[in-house]
């Protein structure tokens, strides 16, 4: 694997500081899976570390990947990414990490905040694999409900918002309950409080949940041990109750991670 230079095909502002970037990067696209991520490098030499961003989509035939990300503030690496347009180049390493396994049974896909984009890639994968529409629960702070329409071809979309501006006023778990949803397996990506709720739901229903964890990363390849998350049992690699989000995850079975 090596650092590759992708060509940006388009960049769109989705509102709420969220941007969508489509990049031509055939080698990355041909190996990409839902839940995996790429390390994206800034051009600013004072910013050393890559930004890990999950796939919102990928198309091996077209050789493209799509990254949907939030600009985290003024002068940040993500702000630099958002300033790039069609024809610009961007350095990437990936795909990295372990994605979501596509298992049999009725899935429920839950995304929160900037954890929403990877669920689009996963939902599309499920739909293409089985031909059956799935169910999504998307949790937003409020408007805009970025990407929402793009989920609709692949399944029924239920929304929750923190401020009540759309869908269920409350959490994604509130939306699950309010809409009487059920599933055989849960897939989730979002902030830790949301993942805690999804894990509790999986225990309540007695089903498996796969959670995509986030961690502050440096290397992204398992060397630096910056991005570890707590595990319920002694991890096979680290021999302590820590697993590396970047290579042991980012997707973990809910029972493996300690979210307390």
């Amino acid at each position: 694997m090596e650092k590759t230079v992708g060509k940006i095909l388009r960049q769109d502002a989705l509102g709420g500081n969220v941007f969508s970037m489509e990049i031509e990067a055939p080698e990355v696209a041909s190996q990409a899976g839902a839940g995996q991520f790429v390390n994206v490098y800034t051009k600013d030499a004072s910013k050393l570390l890559p930004r890990p961003i999950s796939f919102c989509g990928f198309d091996a035939d077209k050789g493209t990947i799509r990254l949907v990300y939030r600009v985290t503030g003024k002068g940040t690496g993500t702000e630099e990414f958002s300033s790039l347009g069609a024809g610009d180049r961007i350095s990437l390493v990936g795909p990295l990490g372990n994605g979501f396994p596509l298992l049999n049974g009725t899935p429920l896909l839950i995304g929160g905040g900037i954890g929403i984009p990877p669920m689009l890639a996963l939902g599309k994968n499920f739909y293409e694999r089985t031909g059956r529409r799935v169910r999504f629960v998307l949790g937003y702070r409020g408007l805009p409900l970025f990407l929402k329409e793009e989920f609709e071809p692949y399944g029924d979309v239920f929304v929750s918002t923190d401020d009540g501006s759309g869908g269920t006023h409350g959490t994604v778990i509130d939306a699950v309950k309010e809409n009487g949803l059920s599933a055989d397996i849960l897939y989730a990506c979002g902030p830790v409080p949301m993942l805690r709720g999804v894990k509790a739901l999986s225990q309540e229903w007695g089903i498996t949940a796969y959670l995509s964890m986030e961690g502050r990363m440096a290397c992204g390849v398992g060397a630096c041990l910056a991005c570890v998350c707590k595990t319920t049992k002694t991890d096979a690699h680290s021999k302590v109750k820590n697993a590396r989000v970047c290579v042991d995850g980012p997707v973990f079975k809910a029972e493996e991670v300690d979210l307390s």
Binding site: M1, E2, K3, Y41, A45, S46, K47, L48, L49, P50, V93, G215, R216, M217, A218, C219, G220, V221, G222, A223, C224, L225, A226, C227, V228, C229, H237, S238, K239, V240, K241, N242, V247
Partner: protein
Amino acid sequence: MNTSVTIAGVTMKNPVTTASGTFGSGQEYSKFVDLNRLGAVTTKGVAIVPWEGNETVRIAETYGGMLNAIGLQNPGVDVFLERDLPFLKQYDTKVIVNVCGHSVDEYVECVKRLSEAPVDLLEINISCPNVKQGGITFGTAPKMAELVTRKVKEAAAQPVIMKLTPNVTDITEIARAVEAGGADGISLINTLTGMKIDTKTRKFVLANQTGGLSGPAIHPVAVRMCYQVHKAVGLPIIGMGGIMNAQDALEMILAGATMVAAGTVNFVEPDATVKIIEGIEAYMEENHIDEISSLVGAVED
């Protein structure tokens, strides 16, 4: 052109290794780098038993650098010997094992466990700023640094390199102390202690509050200390601190380093080590340098 260098009787094919903690056990980067190309691989610090490390958040990016407070998480020497070392031994590169401990006894026990193993050099970390006991507390007091060096030397089967912290008033004082303790070489510099505060939340960014600053921001400090130590003691030096490219590496060699280690740059360019080696070779060719060792400490006074 001869790029090989010798430290304490161990000859490396070129003067480039990895800085401990930035390259895992070598396996993690082996899909980016042909490890056969490296003069040596320096492993993540290993202790006599597994260490949990610090709470997260463990890293923060800073201008031209980064802070880390990993806290020397490691799986323990037994796992290292069973899993990580056999992996490295598949490659034609030397192995430098970084050793950490909370106490003199822990260093000694760990070094003893490594005595039968196919390890070329030991690098003793008396300079980690991120653990409460051991680490830097041994590296900031000359008497303590000398004592640890002596005890480790008594127990070690392999040559002993002491890794020094820059967080001292006079690095040459510590360098002389480890020389007096019988060290075979010196690695420097470990990270500079730093701190970052989030102005939005008014909290420390790192769970550990302080962390070690690395990256190009610290490179001039490392070059200066390398030069000072080279002048002060007769031991070979593995120079490190913010090396980003071959030019930075050559600067460190001219300041007095026999070997150099690439650290944070691995996160920036996963194959940086090989690029640095190629850059050194190109420099030697352009400047008609036959022996890399002729450049060690060759800065004009």
